[in-house]
């Protein structure tokens, strides 16, 4: 099952950022596939941990690109990054404490993060770049 689907309007026009966005989506999907049906807590934790690491480094790169291009609302954008990371960490801790990861809810959440973040914040950066 594909958790998140890449959409053409995710593209912001900076090769390395677009590349990582696609990579991230692929990673999330493939990790999710590898989870399979039999999900021990440990495997879910590993899955989430990997996503956290990748998103963290992706945000680091994106913030660098924005800083380089003097993005005027970087602070706001970064705050959204931090919010996403915090929510992911909340989810991880909840899972570690025994909450069962509900695929549907998690997929919806991820989709919301991605589409929500891409469509509002990244799109705004895209407009900044093309201005």
């Amino acid at each position: 099952m594909t958790l998140v689907k890449w959409q053409a309007n995710f593209r912001i026009g900076i090769e390395e950022v677009d590349h990582e966005h696609q990579d991230l989506i692929n990673l999330i999907n493939s990790l999710h596939d590898a989870l399979g049906e039999e999900r021990s807590g440990e495997r879910v934790e590993a899955f989430l941990g990997e996503i956290l690491a990748d998103i963290s480094s992706h945000f680091a790169l994106e913030e660098k690109v924005m800083r380089d291009r003097h993005y005027d609302v970087l602070a706001e954008h970064k705050a959204d990054h931090e919010r996403l990371l915090d929510e992911l960490r909340d989810l991880m801790d909840a899972q570690a404490e025994g909450a069962v990861l509900d695929d549907k809810r998690f997929a919806a959440q991820l989709a919301q993060w991605f589409t929500g973040h891409f469509q509002t914040h990244d799109a705004r950066f895209h407009r900044h770049l093309t201005r």
Partner: protein, 707 residues
């Protein structure tokens, strides 16, 4: 070498601990010596420019212009002049202690050789600036500096004619040489500034400004010294007299008295040899180098955080080499990396939550892998018991954090606390591997790896990426920056932290109220009362400026014994040609091309000049002086100085310049009466008939022909 370093380090650490109690860690003067040096340099520059406005650059007017400035404009001009002197002296003090401290702390070996080695030319610049500065006052000290320095330079033997002859007596005083010194006193500080800039090139975020309170205190103390003990000129220079006693500035001129005990070239050899030895010090013995940081491209997307955090500029961002769509990747210069691991702490992929495959950060220390660290932390956590379990992350230079280990305290050591990626703290606290995390490092603002403590604090306070996630309660994350000898303070911090953690548990595990500030928790260690601290600071400033003020002129140096006079034998005279010139014969001329004809044939080369001088019949000088010049056709130069008792003396001078085995070309004898302190020159001018004794003005010498 190691024992010496350890001994010195123990002394420094004890003094620093005392100063920290008085000034606080951030304003500890001994950890701010570099920035204080820069600050003093700027004081010297500004005050120097001001004094220069009123300075008359003529050699005969210089003294008067400065004396007038000090007297008539004591409130500003005099102040500036005093600041110029005392800040320069303090600069010497600060620079020497700075070098000694970097040596004692072993911060100059391995890849840290660069600031050390570039600091040594700075010492030479500093002294050259000071020495030329004292020259400009043109008082008795300046006269001494001029004569001693030029004599010392002459001992190298690179000048055709002794440059000390520029300052032989009032008749021969060279205003042009004086002007040259003025230019040098302006040019050398500029070059020194360039060298200072090079000195700090390998330090990212180099600190060049001291904390404001320290700057204000230093300036205030120097101003107080300047008013209490204004820098004044000594008596005006008089080249026909030699000063008996001088107020020597021992910060700059301490080696000068040695010139009376050893030959100038020996002193040069000592100083140059010493400098070479100092230059080699970083490799005596060479540092056993830990493996440097290594970039793992599979985990590097070129986000630049390691580059931003490296304290030593060892990381550069280069174009991507593996064909991935990223623009850049980090690259480590193995010749600049100190293996501190601060870059690893900055890497966003260094998170222990990763479980798929092998945990590897985008940049890693081969000796201390992130996967190894994660295992060590997990194992340490598993051993902990009790109601307030603490994991201490200590650095390799902290106050013995190892000794804290017990049933409820685990200690994990890293090269530098800055190496710890914040997600590790997140994991330990949020997954209850321990109830609290204590980060223990070097004394505040004196991190061995320069910036580890600052970056750590900023990452915790959400001021620097990668930051510790806001959801991690800061009252479970403590920091302790301690002077390495203050293990007691570290232990006290742990005790208080544990009590605090118990308090949190007693609060019923209810969600703690969000902290007012995201900063890390710190213990309240016992401090001196404010009054005692200010008194202590005042005392320290008074001691330092007292030291500076005293040795700026004291103890006096006796140049010439009270009842003595100086006798100088100095002249420049060309020996006779080896062969006399002869006219070409007519035959020779006709055989020479018209364009190459000349009247006489002169072979180059002259005879050496042999000189004898007897004092009251006793030989005091016998020497042969070779002609100067590559072709041995220049004049032979003589310069010798004798200290003789004042009184009536018979002088016999003889000179031979024709290569004969015996006999003399010129001889002269005089009875002279030398007053104490007279500078009496025996000169020789072949055109004026031979030897000349003293100046016409030295009539008091009551010369007469000897029988």
């Amino acid at each position: 070498m190691d024992a010496l370093k350890r001994g010195l380090r123990a002394v420094f650490l004890r003094i620093e601990a005392a100063l920290e109690a008085v000034f606080g860690a951030r304003h500890n003067p001994l950890t701010q010596l570099g920035t204080l040096g820069w600050f003093l340099f700027w004081i010297v520059t500004v005050s120097g420019i001001y004094v220069y406005i009123f300075f008359d650059t003529g050699v005969t007017q210089a003294w008067e212009s400065l004396d007038r400035l000090s007297r008539e404009q004591w409130y500003l001009g005099g102040l500036m002049r005093s600041l110029h002197r005392y800040a320069s002296d303090a600069l010497v003090l600060v620079v020497l202690v700075h070098a000694l401290r970097e040596f004692a702390m072993d911060r100059m070996r391995g890849n840290r050789w660069f600031p050390w080695v570039t600091g040594i030319p700075l010492l030479w610049f500093l002294y050259a600036c000071g020495i030329t500065g004292y020259w400009l006052v043109w008082d008795q000290l300046a006269q001494y500096v001029a004569v001693a320095t030029t004599e010392w330079l002459d001992s190298i033997g690179i000048f055709a004619e002794p440059i000390a002859r520029n300052f032989l007596d009032s008749e021969r005083l060279s205003g042009r040489f004086f002007t040259l010194i003025i230019y040098m006193h302006i040019a050398l500080p500029l070059l020194m500034l360039l060298a200072m800039w090079i000195h700090i090139q390998r330090h990212a975020h180099a600190r060049v400004n001291p904390p404001r309170t320290l700057a204000v205190g230093t300036l205030g103390a120097l101003v107080a010294l300047s008013f209490a003990w204004p820098a004044m000129s000594q008596a005006p220079a008089d080249l026909d007299r030699a000063p008996f006693s001088l107020g020597l500035d021992w910060f700059y001129l301490a080696v000068y008295p040695l010139l009376e005990r050893m030959h100038g070239s020996t002193l040069w050899l000592l100083l140059i040899g010493g400098s070479v030895l100092l230059t080699l010090l970083p490799w005596l013995p060479p540092l056993k180098k830990a493996p440097v940081a290594k970039v793992d491209l599979a985990n590097c997307n070129g986000c630049r955080r390691c580059f931003a955090d490296c304290p030593f500029g060892a990381i550069t961002m280069i174009g991507r080499t593996d064909g991935l769509a990223y623009e850049q990747e980090a690259s480590v210069d193995p010749d600049m990396c100190m293996s501190c691991g601060i870059c690893v702490g900055a890497c966003p992929t260094a998170t222990p939550f990763r479980r798929v495959g092998h945990l590897s950060a985008g940049i890693e220390l081969p000796d201390r892998s992130m996967s190894g660290l994660r295992e060590e932390v997990a194992a340490a956590a598993a051993r902990l018991s009790g109601d307030a379990r603490v994991i201490v992350f200590g650095c390799s230079h902290d106050a013995d954090s190892d000794r804290l280990a017990d049933a409820s305290t685990a200690v994990v050591r890293l090269p530098c606390v800055g190496m710890l990626p914040p997600p590790f703290i997140d994991l330990v606290v949020m997954r209850h591997q321990a109830d609290g995390v204590l980060l223990s490092g070097c004394a505040g603002h004196d991190c061995f790896e320069r910036l580890g403590d600052q970056w750590t604090e900023q990452r915790i306070a959400n001021e620097r990426d990668p930051n510790l996630r806001a959801r991690v309660p800061r009252d479970r994350v403590a920091v302790a920056w301690n002077n390495p000898i203050r293990h007691g303070a570290l232990r006290e911090t742990l005790t208080q932290f544990r009590a605090h953690l118990r308090g949190l548990a007693a609060a019923g595990g209810a969600k703690p109220a969000p902290a007012a500030s995201p900063a890390a928790w710190r213990a309240r260690l016992r401090e001196l009362p404010v009054a005692a601290r200010y008194t202590g600071q005042g005392l320290v400033y008074a001691l330092v400026v007292g030291f500076v003020g005293f040795f700026a002129t004291q103890p006096a140096y006796t140049y010439l014994a009270e009842d003595h006079a100086l006798l100088k034998l100095s002249f420049s005279h060309a020996g006779q040609p080896l062969k006399p010139c002869r006219r070409y014969t007519h035959e020779e001329l006709t055989n020479t091309k018209f364009s190459e004809r000349s009247a006489t044939s002169c072979e180059r080369g002259r005879w050496p000049v042999y000189v004898e001088l007897d004092l009251n019949g006793e030989p005091i000088y016998r020497a042969t002086h070779d002609p100067a010049g590559l072709w041995n056709d220049g004049p032979s130069a003589v310069y010798a100085r004798f200290e003789v008792p004042a009184g009536r003396h018979r002088l016999d001078a003889r000179l031979r310049d024709n290569g004969a085995d015996q006999g003399f070309t010129f001889t002269a004898s005089r009875m002279v009466e030398l007053q104490p302190g007279t500078n009496f020159v025996v000169d020789f001018r072949a055109t004026d008939g031979g030897f000349a004794f003293g100046l016409p003005a030295q009539d008091t010498a009551r010369q007469e022909e000897a029988p």
